[in-house]
């Protein structure tokens, strides 16, 4: 029983990491349809932001709290710049976008290598987050995982509120559902695109901060996560936040339960096979966006 509960929690915490790294993509890929291979490098930018901050703020806890909004701004600004310089010229050419952003991804990795050095670095975790909470019966929840879970849920909640309740959210949804109609209704679609990309990339930065609690910070850390992030969005259904949330947690639990009873490699293979089978059955993903657009 303890094993099952422990593994479920592990699965949920893996799901929380997946959700955080995929959340930005649900906007840029899910809503806007941009295949941004440099998304992983925005995660990296967020992680390095934490690292740099820790040099000037000695308290690990304070620097983590400052890093969250700052990483959002740094990664968001990088995303907005990328959109402004390259992606907006390629909206009708998705495959070119893929190649161009992949090139950008390689350049950003090299840049990180030149600035921070090739070896990976570490951010210190606040003492509060290195321990664990014992809930009796031999069960323990790691504090860092609880923090990531809370952060992921907070981000989902914030994003949902923005999309549902704010004028900006209404404009984003309008552009996604029918760009032409939105444009003739007086919405500055280009500006909405840039803002959407800013928020999506910024969320990648937040994910980067969270990832410093579980692993190292390095130039190639983004590439470790980018495939998983796309998987979550594709399986969840393009353009649907709740699809991504459910998928992230489902994949997390599946992975951890399989990993416990078999090995890491077998679990990965089974999860991938399950995803392929699922997409055969539902190519559109878990949830689909119904639009009235003719395109």
């Amino acid at each position: 029983m303890t094993v099952i509960l422990n593994q479920s929690f592990t699965g949920i915490s893996i799901g929380a990491v997946l959700l955080l790294i995929a959340l930005g993509l649900t906007l840029t890929f899910g809503q806007m349809g941009v295949i941004n291979m440099a998304h992983g490098e925005f995660i990296m930018a967020g992680a390095y932001t934490t690292y740099v901050l820790q040099k000037s703020i000695s308290s690990a806890g304070a620097s983590l709290l400052v890093a969250l909004p700052l990483a959002f701004l740094v990664a968001g600004a990088m995303g907005a710049l990328l959109e402004l310089l390259l992606i907006r010229r390629l909206y009708t050419r998705p495959l070119d976008t893929l190649l161009v952003t992949w090139g950008v991804s390689l350049m950003l990795q090299q840049l990180a290598r030149d600035v921070f050095g090739a070896p990976n670095v570490q951010a210190r975790a606040p003492d509060l987050l290195t321990g664990n909470i014992s809930v009796g019966g031999g069960m323990t929840f790691a504090n860092s995982r609880l923090f990531i879970l809370g952060l992921a849920l907070l981000c989902v909640l914030g994003l949902t509120l923005i999309l549902r309740l704010t004028p900006l959210g209404r404009r984003i949804r309008a552009v996604v559902q029918n760009r032409d109609l939105a444009e003739v209704s007086g919405i500055a679609t280009e500006r909405v695109d840039r803002t959407t990309f800013f928020i999506g990339s910024g969320l990648a930065g937040v994910a980067g901060v969270a990832l410093t609690l579980v692993g190292p910070i390095g130039p190639t850390m983004g590439t470790n996560y980018i495939v998983d992030a796309f998987l979550v969005v594709v399986v969840g259904g393009i353009g649907q936040l709740k699809g991504s949330v459910i998928t992230a947690f489902a994949l997390g639990v599946l992975q951890s339960v399989l990993e416990y009873s078999t090995t890491v490699s077998v679990a990965k293979v089974v999860v991938l096979v399950a995803i392929v089978a699922f997409l055969q059955w539902r190519p559109q993903g878990l949830y689909t966006l119904r639009t009235r657009s003719l395109a």
Partner: protein
């Protein structure tokens, strides 16, 4: 086709060497008499010779390999300051293997055929060594490999300066057994070294009455260890034998601490974590954990004091020194001794001169074993202290004879 281009390159090298020799003789200098007979296309005609340094200066392995590269450069600098080898200064030529095994093979070939290096030093992962092995054998050029590895290999053109299994893993198991830690959980990265090492550990455990209660592999670079740590926790092990490589160690030890496991409750013995890695993982995650190597920064002796001082003077006072760095450092010095004993840079003659070469190394006395092209080394078990340095808790007393195929161990008969 490639044969043709090689011979053409060889011809060019020969021609330029002859030209250079002629020019020098004209000036009255007498040198380069052994040029044309030198193994590959190495060029020894001038007053400098090139040595190749082949390390990953980028990618996931850069964390470790850059420090080895630094140590190699330091050794080259020292040798040049002392007058060089056979009167010739060494000119280091660096190539970046980029943590990518085919790139290693490509760069190895470039070093031998384009740069015409006299010998090459480097490689870290066994995968990169296996990738360059055929290249060095084809061109009959020498590689000095500075890292502990899984044994079961003996290339005629590689000198193995790091420990083989009977100088690191077997003593580590002996140590655990002596401490009464007999139920082991094996955690490793998913590639050739951990898989082979664990095969050896399992054979040992079976013969020595120890028990392997679990075995898990994570892909190189993996950062998700929560499930593996849960399995370790539930398996009822006395100790964890860790063969994870590179950055995965960071995620593993963070998770380990988060799960409430400590060096007291369930010690981890690691074979790929040295001072540099301790520093980057974070001392608070590793304090009290065990490592198995042949050298620590804290190893006593004048040779080590000199090495640490020279390294820190060159690269920064806060930079630690580690076992692979030390092995890299002595590999260049050992090569120098071999060349001077042979009186020639020629690979075949250097190999012949290798047996019995001794060096008062930072790790203690080392002796080259000509038959296996490995080195006699002292095994040392260490414990990570609160200052991030590793202090020795046990050593083998004297240098252990290298036995890459574990021929001297009955329980290892089934391995190959």
């Amino acid at each position: 086709m490639s044969g043709l281009s090689i011979s053409r390159r060889g011809l060019l090298a020969g021609a330029s060497a002859v030209g250079a020799t002629a020019a020098l003789s004209a000036c009255g200098a007498k040198t380069g008499s052994d040029t044309t007979s030198t193994g590959a296309q190495a060029d020894t005609s001038g007053d400098t010779v090139k040595v190749g340094l082949l390390n990953s200066l980028s990618g996931t392995m850069a964390i470790s390999e850059v420090t080895v590269h630094n140590a190699l450069l330091l050794a080259v600098k020292e040798i040049n300051a002392a007058g060089g080898v056979l009167g010739k200064k060494l000119k280091p030529v660096s190539q970046d293997g980029a943590s990518d095994w085919p790139t290693f093979a490509e760069k190895a070939e470039a070093l031998i055929t384009d740069d015409k290096v006299i010998a090459t030093f480097g490689c870290w992962t066994s995968a990169s060594r296996k990738a360059v092995k055929p290249v060095f054998e084809r061109y009959k050029s020498l590689l000095f490999y500075p890292v502990q590895y899984e044994g079961l290999e003996q290339s005629p053109y590689i000198f193995y300066i790091g420990a083989t299994t009977n100088q690191q893993i077997v003593p580590a198991l002996d140590y655990l057994k002596k401490q009464g830690l007999t139920r082991l959980y094996l955690v490793g990265s998913d590639y050739v070294f951990p898989r082979t090492a664990n095969k050896i550990i399992k054979a040992y455990a079976e013969a020595q009455g120890m028990k392997v209660v679990g075995e898990d592999y994570a892909p190189l670079g993996s950062t998700e260890f929560s499930t593996i740590v849960n399995k370790v926790k539930d398996a009822g092990a006395d100790a964890v034998f860790n063969t994870l490589n590179g950055d995965s160690n960071v995620a593993f030890f963070k998770e380990y601490k988060s799960a409430g496991l400590t060096a007291k409750s369930l010690p981890v013995l690691s074979v790929s974590i040295a001072e540099e890695e301790v520093k980057s993982i974070g001392t608070q995650y590793l304090e009290g954990q065990l490592t198995a190597w042949n050298y620590y920064e804290t190893t006593p002796g004048a040779a080590n004091e000199k090495f640490v001082k020279a390294y820190q003077a060159a690269y920064g006072a806060d930079k630690p020194t580690s076992d692979p760095m030390e092995a890299a450092y002595i590999s260049v010095h050992l090569w120098k001794e071999m060349v001077e004993k042979a009186g020639s840079f020629e690979a075949a003659k250097v190999k012949k001169a290798a047996d019995g070469i001794e060096l008062d190394a930072p790790e203690g006395k080392v002796t080259v074993d000509g038959a296996t092209q490995h080195v006699y080394k002292t095994a040392r078990i260490g414990k990570v202290g609160s200052d991030g340095l590793i202090t020795e808790v046990w050593n083998s007393g004297k240098p252990i004879q290298p036995d890459p195929y574990l021929k001297g161990y009955d329980w290892a008969a089934g391995l190959s």
